[in-house]
Symmetry: C2
Subunit: 148 residues, 2 copies
């Protein structure tokens, strides 16, 4: 059985081996958001909380996956490059955790695809919220460039 979530998960595990090592799973994909999850065990640190590098990586993957999915659904062939990200670690992550991405400014999407079509290059800011047991534990803001 194939579904968009299974397909994305298989794609990530096949092409980004770190996502496999982190045991990333794809829980939900909508036009507005991609929800990823990862368990504590493969992402633990010496304090028995989630390693900051794992938290950042899950947030980056969810942000990338949202742009990737939207561009594919819009029929725009392009490659995505992350240029910058800022990550705030708000609370220690003591268990399994999720990252939910969203566009920083959804209204900027038409302009983004227009720029990409006309000039072959466009920028977009994507956010991701990390949660653990229903609590927000971190936030990422990432700047991506799409290139045709």
């Amino acid at each position: 059985m194939s579904s968009p979530t299974h397909e994305l998960q298989a794609y990530l595990h096949a092409h980004i081996p770190l996502s496999h090592a982190m045991q990333v799973s794809v829980l939900d994909i909508t036009a507005d958001s991609v929800l990823l999850a990862a368990p504590l065990a493969p992402n633990i640190n010496h304090r028995e909380t989630v390693f900051g590098g794992s938290a950042s990586a899950l947030a980056i993957l969810s942000a990338w996956a949202l742009l990737h999915t939207r561009l594919r659904d819009a029929g725009v062939a392009s490659r995505l490059v992350i240029q910058r990200n800022t990550m705030d670690y708000e609370l220690p992550i003591v268990g399994d955790f999720t990252a939910r991405s969203s566009l920083a400014d959804p209204d900027a999407w038409p302009q983004f695809t227009r720029m990409l079509s006309r000039r072959g290059k466009a920028r977009m800011e994507v956010r991701a919220v990390l949660e653990c047991a229903g609590q927000v534990v971190g936030r990422l803001s990432g700047e991506f460039v799409a290139l045709r």
Copy 2:
């Protein structure tokens, strides 16, 4: 045979499984800097360059390791928490890569340890430069809090 670099590498691999999955090695430790390396293969992405999450994770580890080493050498028992980081991805990373950390302001160290001793809490900014084949490919700035 045991050396500080071997000890740190064994510690990372034992306590942070992602560092093992990334095949992180510790190349050098001085009072001013910790130099880590990782190969492309376990950190690759769908574009056959280094996944941004891996780049961030190596930079975070080198920054953390510098503060960890300096605090231990200063005989200050403490735990370190990353609060925030900003990562700039300057060039695609097309091969094995390194992260070299340094204090953003080395002159702030005495004040940092004094604050930590007196108030049980102090902040420090650490930077890391990512290189691949002798070229700078990314930069991290991370804010850490040490707690007694």
